[in-house]
Symmetry: C2
Subunit: 145 residues, 2 copies
DNA sequence: TATTGTTATACTCTATAACTATA
DNA sequence: TATAGTTATAGAGTATAACAATA
């Protein structure tokens, strides 16, 4: 069988993917709840994943400018979720690390979000779940490329 | 063949989906560019899709409070992207409609985002594209449910 | 009286520019 | 001099509370 013209398929796929990804992402954020703002949550997650980071490194990861990183770190530090320490190598640098309380709060947020996804995945058929299973790593690859 | 325990599969799927969707969504937003903020973009999109809306309806769609909707509409109106008119039915209500300039700006944003997705989809195999094709509507269903 | 939208006020997030401390 | 981080200042987004106009 001859291939369906690729452009036509791509157009539909792109539009559907854009809508699906954006809407699901929004719902996921809404279902999060918790006391943190999105900015604080994102920074906390980055510090958790990427280990001790300087303010500059954190700003780069978050795609914000250093003053914004400073402000968010200050608020998280005030809540006891991250800690500042000075670098041994360079006295100008500040190292930001996550605290135990920060890790626990983050875990709670992930639990809530995953619980929501779990509830809603139950409404799908086995076949549909298999499709999503194959698609998930592709979405991530798309985001990294 | 006996079924693999569903819980184990679900755990992996949920985690992978969460990561993939959130990262792709963030990348999509980053690739957008343009002069609008995310809030303005979202409101403009909603007004475009949902036709004339009152401030209250718009606030509900966007999950914000009426004062926030008022503020965003005022900024978009100042940029000539939406227009306010008063309702014939109820003198208290304000109807918000998109202007031609608003529609054009929105189309440009979608073009940029879709162009990025198109470039990156080209790096996938045909099989992988088919998986995404099947997954896209499922993501949307998940978001609506 | 109840409802719709706006205005008043306060807080967070972001940016640029100026400043401080260290290299 | 250059760099890392902070502080100063300004503008957008959000909320709650108070207000105006209309139902």
């Amino acid at each position: 069988m001859l291939a369906v013209p690729a452009n036509r398929l791509d157009d539909q796929l792109i539009s559907a993917l854009r809508t699906g990804v954006l809407r699901l992402s929004r719902r996921l954020r809404l279902e999060l709840g918790g006391d943190l703002t999105l900015t604080q949550m994102s920074v906390l997650g980055t510090v958790s994943r990427e280990g001790p980071l300087t303010i500059g490194e954190l700003a780069n990861h978050e795609h914000v400018k250093p003053p914004s990183a400073t402000r968010t770190v200050t608020s998280l530090e005030g809540a006891g979720l991250v800690a500042r320490s000075s670098s041994d190598d360079d006295g100008r640098q500040v190292l930001v690390t996550i605290t135990d309380a920060g890790s626990e709060l983050l875990a709670g947020i992930r639990r809530r979000r995953d619980a929501w996804l779990r509830d809603h995945l139950d409404q799908l058929s086995d076949d549909e779940r298999q499709v999503l299973e194959a698609a998930a790593p592709l979405l991530d690859r798309l985001a990294q490329s």
